[in-house]
Amino acid sequence: MELLAFGKTGWGDELFYATLMTIAVSITAMFVGFFFALIFTPLKLSKYKTLNLVGNFYTTVIRGVPELLVIYLFFFGGSGAIMYVASIFGYYEYIEINAFITGSMAIGIISGAYSTEVFRGAIQSIDKGQFEAAKVLGINKFGQFYKIILPQMLRLAIPNLSNVWQITLKDTSLISVTGLVEIMRQSYIAAGSTRDPLFFYSFAAVLYLFLTYVSMKLINKLEVKYSRGY
């Protein structure tokens, strides 16, 4: 137990901050994913074949390629791409992107592909009459989406989004390969310095179980909130 003590003698505080980092990366990635889903869901539902193709390309490629490969692409290619863009604007210095940003972008794009599918499914399962009724009532496009479609869609999407959240949370363990100090990386460091990998990796597993358990409980509450009236 002294291995987990807070302060200089143990790894308790380090693992605590690493857990916070995992939560921060997961939440950021989830929001990056929502942003991508917001762009690609309309593309997938569009009437135009070309736009469909773009949307389908995104979700198919990201869901068909291992997460680790996407992370390597961002890790090795991220700063190169940014420097290329910067060079167009006449900036030639070396730019290094923070591991947090690379990680949450990579995981965000992955979780965005799953979120896109969830939103698409949810919108498609809303009754057509709802769209028509909103139109007939003369509600503008903005109001139609935010006041009529979105609340109904969220109710349908939350159970599946909770799956996406679980996937995202577990995927953050993979960005430990980029050196970002989250649970997995911290356990790796601790295991290396104390030569006690069994204990630290098992503890990491417990931390992840704790996170998934707590988030499940919270999401269940949300689910109840959004399905009131049904």
Partner: protein, 225 residues
């Protein structure tokens, strides 16, 4: 775009695909039996057996696959006793450690898929079997299992694809699978985009094949509603 690199790296990456496919097929094969075993335990009425099977699937579905591989590969070697047994011959090889981790992981997901498939079988089917005088054992093996397998095909197809992506984690325990070789080429040439296109293309091709095989099987074994 460096097309020469893409062409020269293709044979290396295809060679590594063999490792990926070996890992995938071994862990899916073993995982299917493990999953079936735990699905049957889940349906058991004894609360302890039931909870044990639930705990197994909960733990393996609630933690990242990376943690599971690391515990097995780095962690288990620490137990002195294990080093003296015959198991050590298996556990010191990263290849077998990866297969054990993948098997346990896919077993957990498969057990959930099969359990829900068993639970959706209409009781009337089992009753019909009983009234025909078929023994419980034969009802289970010849009636319930085939129906459950058909029910779980779509979900199991997803699991195969997820597992295929999961095998990429073997590269973290020094195995040179498709992702491992891709990472090696990227880190020596610093051409991430080219390598990503080739390696990603191979993965997508495998996803495409799996997807279509499952679709074909679903059609073949679809029963008339």
């Amino acid at each position: 775009m460096d097309f020469d690199l893409m062409i020269t790296s293709l044979p290396k990456l295809l060679g590594a695909t063999v490792v990926t496919l070996k890992l995938l097929s071994a862990s899916l094969f073993l995982g299917l039996f493990l999953g079936l075993f735990f699905a049957i335990l889940r349906l058991n009425k004894n609360i302890f057996i039931n909870k044990f099977a639930y705990g197994y699937s909960y733990i393996f579905r609630g933690t990242p696959l990376l943690v599971q591989i690391f515990i097995i590969y780095f962690g288990l070697g620490q137990i002195e006793y294990l080093r003296t047994t015959f198991l050590w011959a298996i556990l010191k090889e990263p290849y077998w450690c990866a297969i054990i981790a993948f098997t346990l992981n896919t077993g957990a997901y498969t057990s959930e898929i099969l359990r829900s498939a068993f639970q959706t079988i209409k009781p009337g089917i089992v009753e019909a079997g009983k009234s025909l005088g078929i023994s419980n054992k034969i009802i289970f093996y010849k009636i319930q299992i085939p129906i459950a397998i058909r029910q779980s095909l779509p979900a199991y197809g997803n699991e195969i694809i997820l597992m295929m992506k999961g095998t990429s984690l073997a590269s973290t325990v020094t195995l040179m699978d498709l992702t491992g070789v891709a990472k090696y080429i990227i880190s020596t040439t610093f051409k991430p985009i080219e390598v990503f296109i080739v390696a990603g293309g191979i993965y997508l091709f495998m996803t495409f094949i799996i997807h279509n095989v499952i679709k074909y099987l679903e059609k073949k074994y679809s029963f008339q509603q």
